[in-house]
Assembly symmetry: C2
Amino acid sequence: MSDPEFKHVAIIGIGLLGSSIAHAVAAYGGAEQVSMWDLSDDVRARAARVVPGTVCETAQEAVAGADCVILCTPVGVLREVTGQLAGALAEGAILTDVGSVKAKAAADMASTCPAHVHLIPGHPIAGTEKSGPEAGFASLFQDTWHILTPTADTSAEYKSAVERLTAFWIRIGAKVETMDPNRHDRVLAITSHLPHLIAYNIVSTAYDMESVEQGEVVKYSAGGFRDFTRIAASDPTMWRDVFLTNKEAVLETLGRFSEDLAALQRAIRWGDGDMLMREFSRARGIRKAIIDAGLDTAEADFGRRQIDPDQDE
Amino acid sequence: MSDPEFKHVAIIGIGLLGSSIAHAVAAYGGAEQVSMWDLSDDVRARAARVVPGTVCETAQEAVAGADCVILCTPVGVLREVTGQLAGALAEGAILTDVGSVKAKAAADMASTCPAHVHLIPGHPIAGTEKSGPEAGFASLFQDTWHILTPTADTSAEYKSAVERLTAFWIRIGAKVETMDPNRHDRVLAITSHLPHLIAYNIVSTAYDMESVEQGEVVKYSAGGFRDFTRIAASDPTMWRDVFLTNKEAVLETLGRFSEDLAALQRAIRWGDGDMLMREFSRARGIRKAIIDAGLDTAEADFGRRQIDPDQDE
């Protein structure tokens, strides 16, 4: 194993992503030492039992001496957390995050980040619907994209810091891409934020339908609905902050979605089967591109559950 | 193995479901003989290579002498197909289907079904996004629900026919439930039809967004979008017919969905984080009910792909 990129990585926020980073460092390297902190007493106590590394009593203690600090909090508190840590951050340290929104997150962190720290916002396109320190695991980032949105800093020191952070994420399994933060937010609005909003919404609609007992919605959920409930089980606080901080791109994308849905609704009402065929058929093109790019090995599964091997063909 | 429920099962339409029934009978029993037919010369030729049973040259030939005929065509052609077969159906035979819409399908089949045949409409809540005879496999129906919507016929012969068909589906792995066809269509509108419409629509919206290159939509699809493309890869003809034949229930459900989505949109625009938290949090309740009922063993997977075992923890 080559030398680790960092002497000491500090993780602030020990949820799914924070604990997965700690597990990944323990498994694949990248830092000699990992310290961590979470706002919740309960989460800190649970993390001390299941996450490799040192759980500290204060955030300042966790980041003291760290050459890389990774904020794994909801994006809504990045500004406040950065401000609270500012006095404790080491000279030349890297400050990064894992927030799903980058323009607002970068601006928030920049507003309270001291000048002697290299701010490099980031976003791993990785996760599961689980939350909390117990949900973390070492291979979460294997073969996933990690997007960095570096600032306008053109110094050699900053460039070298970006290279070190890139090497760290590659070591724990990710493929790294740099991108403009506004572009990131537009791309993610359609590939991640809108899908989650839609999933939350359809589950809400089902919840309220008095003509269908909840028991039946659950019982026959395998027809497609179940996959939406899986996405809608994601952490509510995290997603509230995503929608509030990427408001413009989400509203723009949602507007287009609603227009398109109104056109499908009209086609159904007026029995326009040709229009439905046209729209449904071209969805297969994007699906094929995803398969061809090797980006999905899973299969859809409407009703079929995991089968006992001896029952299988 | 106990005696098979049928001497001769005929399958009309050799797609994912038709070929899976043939595979399931070969694996688990239920009929001494299976014959099948498809409108497409190409599908018949492919089925002859990969599906167990006899592929016939005409539909009439396939159903001749069969004591159970299963229509596995899109629901839009059930009326026509039933009419074409009417003269060839044996006295006392069971006629059933696998259509995702039941009220209209039942009425269509009833209008052309001869009186000497027992019509028992049905719908397996099972499937994958794959189509065609090559997509079929024996365990597709294991542990899935099969819904039968029997007619008002109260004769002992009809009751016995329903019992035989129930035993057949149980033998090939399903759990069987009977239900009123209108109720079926309302329940499935929210648990299956709307989720598919939404999935098709979001893929369409992404396709048209000129501000995002398709390459990037594909590349970063792991953030949630990918799961929708999987659902939207389902057979376009089948789904066109579902929306056209379950129009009222789909439009009613879609209307509620759009209202709810407008409320979320307004909350995002006005920064109402409390409302978003409230809506997002209750989605977890339905998810928990599905998990508690043992109805989903799969995990969400945003970015994480199947990992080589030796890379895993």
